[in-house]
Amino acid sequence: MNGLAPLLSYSPPGIVAPRPVLRKLALAREALRWSGLSPSSPAQPERPGAEFAGFIRAIATVQDRAAFVALYGHFAPRVKSYLLRLGAGTVLAEDLAQEALLSVWAKAAYFDPDKASVSTWIFTIARNLHIDARRRARAPARAAAELANLPDAAVPEAADMVLFAAQQQERLRAALVHLPANQAEVVRLSFFQDKPHAEIERELGIPLGTVKSRLRLAIAQLRSLLDAPK
């Protein structure tokens, strides 16, 4: 009996994924890159943004551990890098990066590819974990209830919506590369340093008004890009 139960409940992950072959290729690529065996790992190939959404769906539907390993390999080191930039120590950054990926697993069914790309969703998970950690540091006695990550109603997504969120993210990444250097620097600092805008002023030695106007310009430029006709 016990031996049969897993067999009966098991369905191959490839069946639920939209494009099984591509997905498996991407899994293999990610696993290779993660293990450091890939000869082409420094020359970042194209980002499989839509593939990542497929991995998350595979976790949500069949608890696909291979998909999780691929997501972990790609995102855990980036989340850790983000947390280190926010000023977390090595131990905390490692712990929170692990927690973030555990949340990706546990909350996979909450992911809505219409609302955000995978990297954005994971960014918000990591950000919220850092907010919680910072709050615990400020007031250790307080309960750690958090309003963020409110559960959204689960809406089935059409495949083209998945592609849309992923494409949007691709366009955004391309546009970030083309921002004027002084704007790009302010944008990066405003996200990756746990600092209010006034402290960026000190860090860059430029007036607060300039910090704010550069940031506003950058946001306006990125916004116009995303609002442009597809």
Partner: protein, 216 residues
């Protein structure tokens, strides 16, 4: 519903980046419940955060990190089929916004005739002071300024000050340079959710006497 008063774009950016303290975060999140435009801006900023995350140089994970995480994988949570009912009500017929569900409020405490308050986060929390203020219809709040930034989101009713009329969902953002004297609209109580990072500074000498009592 038309929202006329919004937070500054950079306030939304700072929200998306996770820089606000909890009190301010709750007020901005409450405005977002009412305002699809600002939700779009926050989403854009979060997408920028996601794009930047994607382009960060990966940090090296600790040895055995993946194995430890794999060993901890539990069940995948199922989203609830329906949203849970509101935990409590601001007034009869006025359920608390989703963003306030996590709080267990005390009762309204009178500050002065026609004005009462529920403190949700005490000033000493280190996360900013967060409170609900209920103003009777047609009531004039004493002139006051702020020693730091204050964010106010109107939850019901309306008030008017030098910056215009603020109705349900509107967000007012003020700093130390602005004194204001809100007057609540006739018709019903005006209930606001307010975050401050430092105590208010009352203008009149009588009001200044109240300061220690108010303590917001």
């Amino acid at each position: 519903m038309t929202i006329t008063h919004h937070p500054a774009e950079l306030t939304l950016q700072a929200y998306a980046a996770g820089h606000h303290k909890r009190a301010a975060r709750v007020v901005v999140a409450t405005h977002l419940e009412f305002c699809p435009d600002c939700r779009r801006t926050v989403r854009l900023c979060e997408e920028i955060g996601g794009a930047l995350l994607e382009d960060l140089p990966p940090a090296e994970m600790a040895a055995g990190s993946l194995d430890r995480v794999l060993a901890r994988l539990g069940p995948v949570a199922r989203p609830p089929s329906a949203a849970p009912p509101p935990a409590w009500a601001l007034a009869s017929g006025l359920p608390c916004p989703v963003t306030l569900r996590e709080f267990s409020p005390s009762r309204w405490r009178g500050l002065m005739p026609g004005i009462s308050r529920i403190q949700l986060l005490p000033p000493k929390s280190g996360e900013g002071s967060l409170y609900l203020l209920r103003i009777a219809p047609g009531k004039r709040v004493p002139v006051h300024g702020h020693t730091a930034r204050e964010l106010t989101c109107v939850l019901s009713g309306a008030y008017t000050d030098a910056h215009g009329e603020f109705c349900q969902g509107d967000l007012a953002e003020s700093d130390e340079s602005q004194d204001h004297q809100p007057v609540s609209a006739p018709g019903g109580d005006c209930i606001c959710l307010i975050a401050t990072e430092a105590p208010l500074r009352f203008g009149g000498s009588f009001a200044r006497l109240l300061q220690p009592l108010v303590g917001v």
